[in-house]
Subunit: 233 residues, 2 copies
């Protein structure tokens, strides 16, 4: 009985950390007193402690305490015993690297599959898919594998960006990058724009937020999915 | 006696493939009749044949023939016997993956260190650095290692982009990504804007083109390097 929120970003432009999600999180984590925070992705390279404080401050406004996974002696047990889990954004390569180094990927999958409520933002959302091959992040470290949780049967491209009209930059658009992915991989990819999130209820996945999301399947034209709808293919 | 051109991009906005570099390439590859082309990076997933044709068409205007490495029976020998080598852009992960799979990385390094004239653009430039950890590309395949040629003693960030003023997008800027790299890595990184290239003459590296380039060193403020100057740190 999965119960997950998989968000494109922690922060939408012009509002504070997690602010746009707090009403949703209040319901989602109803009854949870202490949340386990996984700070491994270290945005801008900040320390685990500083990152955990950021999460703690946001969740204090809905009366939920936050403790970082690094504050526990045994990371696996921390995951097994947790009432709820939040993996923050940052660098997906380093996040996945640390999940492997701390040998917690399979434990995390187990508790999420069994219903421990979860929040992922950005890198913390990328890891919910089959693998991390659609991250936008820079490969600053070499993880032992790109395989991730596979709690949903497709991949996430967080912070999805539409091609910028009139841009003179010659770097690949996001759509081109995902098309290149499909030359080598079969998995579907969902481009989640900032402000969008997925709500996973057992095996059902719903698109939430105001925006549409862009679904890329191998050998098919990409399509826009409506908010509120079930994601099926 | 290295002799390399390491370009940020193959194409600048508003001109055709390699057009802005052709006068330089005419001198650089002076005396070369046939260039060996490495099409492994497959931009937009195009075939090796199609990609080689693109390179062939551009070089025909300066009377140089082009043959793809995939057209040779033995890739290592093709590299050893070549008069000049061009590695095109595309996806750096797949490029590095194929360099390892075809076991040609060390051979390529050897001939470049010994003076076979080289052109790299974009992904083909990223591989000239110590490792590919500053690519902007999507990790669509998992290469056996991120270690690359190390023909220059630093890393390249091709298609370097300055932060976009007034952007509402919450994804990391290029500068933030490189700062995250320096939390885990010591290597200096040169942000090469589109239209810039490096000229490597033995151990000397000069910045060419009209623009400045941005040098990032660990625990230092980034600085702008002037075109024409020697790159030292």
């Amino acid at each position: 009985m999965k119960k997950m929120i998989i968000a494109s970003t922690s922060t939408v432009h012009g509002s504070s950390y997690l602010e746009y999600l707090l009403p949703t999180l209040k319901t989602h984590f109803n009854g949870v007193k202490q949340l386990l925070f996984i700070p491994y992705a270290r945005p801008s390279g900040i320390s685990y402690d500083d990152y955990t404080t950021t999460a703690k401050n946001a969740f204090s406004t809905i009366n939920i305490d936050v403790k970082g996974i690094h504050e526990f002696e045994n990371a696996k047990e921390a995951i097994q015993d947790s009432e709820g889990i939040f993996t923050g954004g940052g660098n997906t390569f380093e996040l996945v690297n640390q999940l492997y180094k701390n040998d917690v990927l399979s434990t995390l999958k187990q508790v999420l599959d069994n219903g421990t409520p979860y929040l992922g933002t950005s890198a913390g959302s990328n890891i919910c898919g089959l693998n991390m091959k659609n991250t936008n992040d820079m490969p600053i470290v070499y993880p032992p594998s790109f395989t991730t949780l596979g709690c949903i049967p497709f991949n996430i491209n967080a912070h999805y960006l539409d091609p910028i009209e009139g841009s003179t930059h010659m770097g690949e658009t996001r759509e081109t990058r995902i098309k290149e992915f499909h030359v080598f991989n079969e998995a579907a990819v969902l481009g989640l724009r900032e402000g969008s999130w997925l709500e996973v209820v057992d095996e059902a996945v719903f698109l939430r937020g105001k925006l549409t999301a862009r679904l890329f399947e191998q050998n098919k034209q990409p399509i826009e999915l409506k908010s509120g709808g079930l994601i099926e293919f």
